[in-house]
Amino acid sequence: MMWVIIALVFWLAAWAVNVALARSRYHDTKLVRLIVPLLFGATLLVLWEGLVRGFSVSPVILPAPSVVAQTFANSTDILWVDFTQTVLKGAVSGYAIGCLSAFIAAIAIDRSAFLTRGLLPIGNFVAALPIVGIAPILVSWFGFDWHSKAAVVVVMVFFPMLVNTVQGLRETDQMQRDLMHTYAAGYVTTLTKLRLPAAMPFVFNGLKIAATLALIGAIVAEYFGSPTRGMGFRISTGVGSLSIDLVWAEIFVAALAGSGFYGAVALIERAVTFWHPSQRGRA
C-alpha cells in the first residue's frame, strides 16, 4: 500500500508544480516549456511503478517500468539485432523505395491525364487493402527475411506519398505558371524552379505520414512469418513465452525509433521549406 500512496502523492505534487509553472510569469520561457511535459511523463512512470508494486500485479501481466528498464539494459544485444532487422533493413529500405517511386509516379501522373485517370484509382485501391491481408501474400512472394517486410512498407507508404505529391504539384496557380511561360521556361525548368518547391510542404507532409506508417508496417509484417529476429517477431512471440518485460522494451525501442524517424524528417522539412508560413518565426 505504501507504494500506491507514494505514487499518488507524487502525482498530486507534480500536478501542483505543473499548474504553478503554467500560471507563473515564466510560463513562456524555454525551460518551463521543457519541464512541464517531462514532469508529466515522469508522473505517468511513477504512477505505473507505484500501482504495479502496490497492488503486486503479476509481472506476466504488466511489468513495472523499472523492470522494463533493467531488461532493456540487459538485452541491448537482442534489441540491437531486432532494430537492425526491422528498422534499418525493413522499414528504411521500404520507406526509401516506396516514397521515391511514389514521387516519380506523382510527377508522371501530373504530366499525363491518362495516368491520372488510370493510376490514381489503382493507388487508392492498393491503399484500401488491409495490411493483414497483403502481408502473408507478400511474405510468400518475397520470402521470410526483411525483403517481404520492405515490400509491405512500400505498399503502405506509396499511396499517402502519391496523393500528397500530386496535390502539391497542383499548388501553383495559372498566373505563376504564365509568368514562367513569359520567361520562356520549358516544362523541366517550370517543374524544378517553380512547381516542385511549391509542392515541398505537401511532399514533406506525405513523408512524415509515411515515416510512422513504415515502422508499423515493418513490425506488423513480421507477425506473418519471419526469421528469429526482428521487433515484430519478438513482440508477437514474447507474450507466448511470458517475456512481457522484453516486449515492453521492444515497444520502447519502437517508440524511440518512430519519434526519431519522424523528428529527422521534420528537421529536414524545416531546412527545405524555411520560406513556408508554417516554418517562419521558428528559430
Binding site: S140, S236, V239
Partner: protein
C-alpha cells in the same frame, strides 16, 4: 405495495432456490482453436458429464495470439491446457503452474521434411531452413536441436529457423526444408495440399527420444490450497476423463460434437474425423494421471540444452500433483 412485497418475496425465493442448486463455474482455456484435439472436453460438455458432477463449464477456444499461461495469470480461466515445456518455462518466470492431470500420454509433434530437400536423417539438418512455431511452442524444438548440437543461428553448421505461421505454406513453397507438424493436424494439411507421404520424411519427437508432454491441465499453485477449488477440479478431471474415454470409443460421434461446438465453422467433417482418430492414439494409455517417469523425461530433455537450456533448474515435484487425479479416478 402488496405487489412489490410479493415480487421481492418471489425474487428472494428464486435467488435462494438458485443458490441451492447452483453449479460450480469452471472456465477452461484451450491451447488452440476448437478442434478434435480437445474432443474429450467437448464430449463431456455435450454428454452432460460435467452437469452430472455439478459443474457449469465454459470452454474458451484458444488461437494463435492466446497464451494459456497469460490467461490464467490474468484470472481469465480456472484451468488451462498447455504443453509442459511452456508451462515449466512459465513456472521459471514466476508463474507457478501445476500439472493436475495429463490426458495425453504421447506427443503428437513431429518435423516433416521434403525428401527432395535432401533430408534423410537428423544429421542432414545442418545448413537447412526449418520451420518452427513460436509463442511457447518452440521449446521442444530448441531442446532437440541443442541435443543434436546444432546452433539455431543459421550458417553451415547450424540450422536457419524461420518463424512458421500456423500453417504449412513454407514447405509447400520450398522456403523451408522441414516444417513443424502435429500428427493429427498439419501433417494432413500437407497431404491435402497434394504432397504424398512418399515425398515426405517425418521425424516424430516421440521416436527421437525428445518427446515432451502436451496438453496437460494446469492450475495456479496457490489455488490448490483451497479445498473447495480442489474438490471442483477433482470433479472436473473425473468428468473430462470420462469424456476422453467416450471420445476414444466413439471417434466419429466425438468429431461431430466438436464440429457442433466450432463457432467459427472453419473445421470440416473429414478433417475432424481423421484428427479424432489420430488424437485417440495419443490419449490411449493415459487414465489422466501424470506418469512421474514421463515428467522426469520431459524435464531432462528441457534441461539438457547445452549452453541454452529451456529451463535452468529442475522444477521439482512441486510442478505436478497427484492430489486431484488420485481423488478423481479412485
Amino acid at each position: 405495495m402488496k405487489n412489490l412485497t410479493y415480487s421481492i418475496g418471489f425474487a428472494a425465493a428464486a435467488f435462494w432456490g438458485g443458490m441451492a442448486q447452483a453449479a460450480d463455474d469452471v472456465t477452461l482455456q484451450l491451447k488452440w482453436v476448437t478442434q478434435a484435439q480437445f474432443a474429450g472436453y467437448y464430449v463431456a460438455l455435450d454428454q452432460g458429464f460435467y452437469e452430472e458432477e455439478g459443474l457449469n463449464v465454459t470452454i474458451k477456444p484458444g488461437g494463435p495470439d492466446i497464451a494459456p499461461a497469460q490467461v490464467i495469470a490474468g484470472g481469465g480461466a480456472d484451468v488451462v491446457l498447455d504443453w509442459m515445456p511452456s508451462a515449466l518455462a512459465s513456472r521459471e518466470k514466476g508463474l507457478p503452474l501445476v500439472n493436475i492431470a495429463q490426458p495425453f500420454k504421447s506427443s503428437g509433434m513431429m518435423l516433416t521434411c521434403r525428401k527432395d530437400a535432401g533430408v534423410a536423417s537428423p544429421e542432414d539438418f545442418a545448413g537447412k531452413t526449418l520451420g518452427v512455431w513460436f509463442f511457447g511452442n518452440e521449446y521442444p524444438f530448441l531442446s532437440w536441436m541443442s541435443q543434436l548440437g546444432l546452433s539455431t543461428d543459421g550458417g553451415e553448421d547450424g540450422v536457419t529457423v524461420l518463424k512458421q505461421g500456423f500453417n504449412v505454406d513454407p514447405i509447400l513453397q520450398g522456403q523451408a526444408a522441414c516444417v513443424s507438424t502435429m500428427t493429427y493436424n498439419e501433417y494432413w494439411q500437407i497431404i491435402d495440399a497434394g504432397l504424398s507421404p512418399d515425398d515426405l520424411v517425418v521425424f516424430k519427437y516421440e521416436d527421437q527420444g525428445v518427446a515432451t508432454l502436451e496438453d496437460g491441465m494446469y492450475v495456479l499453485e496457490q489455488n490448490l490450497e483451497d479445498p473447495a477449488f480442489v474438490d471442483k477440479m477433482t470433479r472436473f478431471v473425473r468428468a473430462s476423463m470420462k469424456g476422453w474415454k467416450w471420445a476414444e470409443e466413439n471417434p466419429d460421434d466425438a468429431a461431430l460434437i466438436v464440429l457442433d461446438n466450432d463457432e467459427t465453422g472453419a473445421q470440416t467433417e473429414k478433417h475432424q474425423k481423421r484428427m479424432m482418430g489420430e488424437i485417440a492414439k495419443l490419449t490411449a494409455g493415459s487414465n489422466g494421471a501424470l506418469d512421474p517417469a514421463d515428467f522426469e523425461r520431459t524435464v531432462q530433455s528441457l534441461l539438457a540444452g547445452g549452453s541454452d537450456p529451456v529451463i535452468t533448474d529442475h522444477p521439482g515435484e512441486a510442478a505436478w500433483t497427484h492430489k486431484i487425479t488420485d481423488a478423481a479416478l479412485n
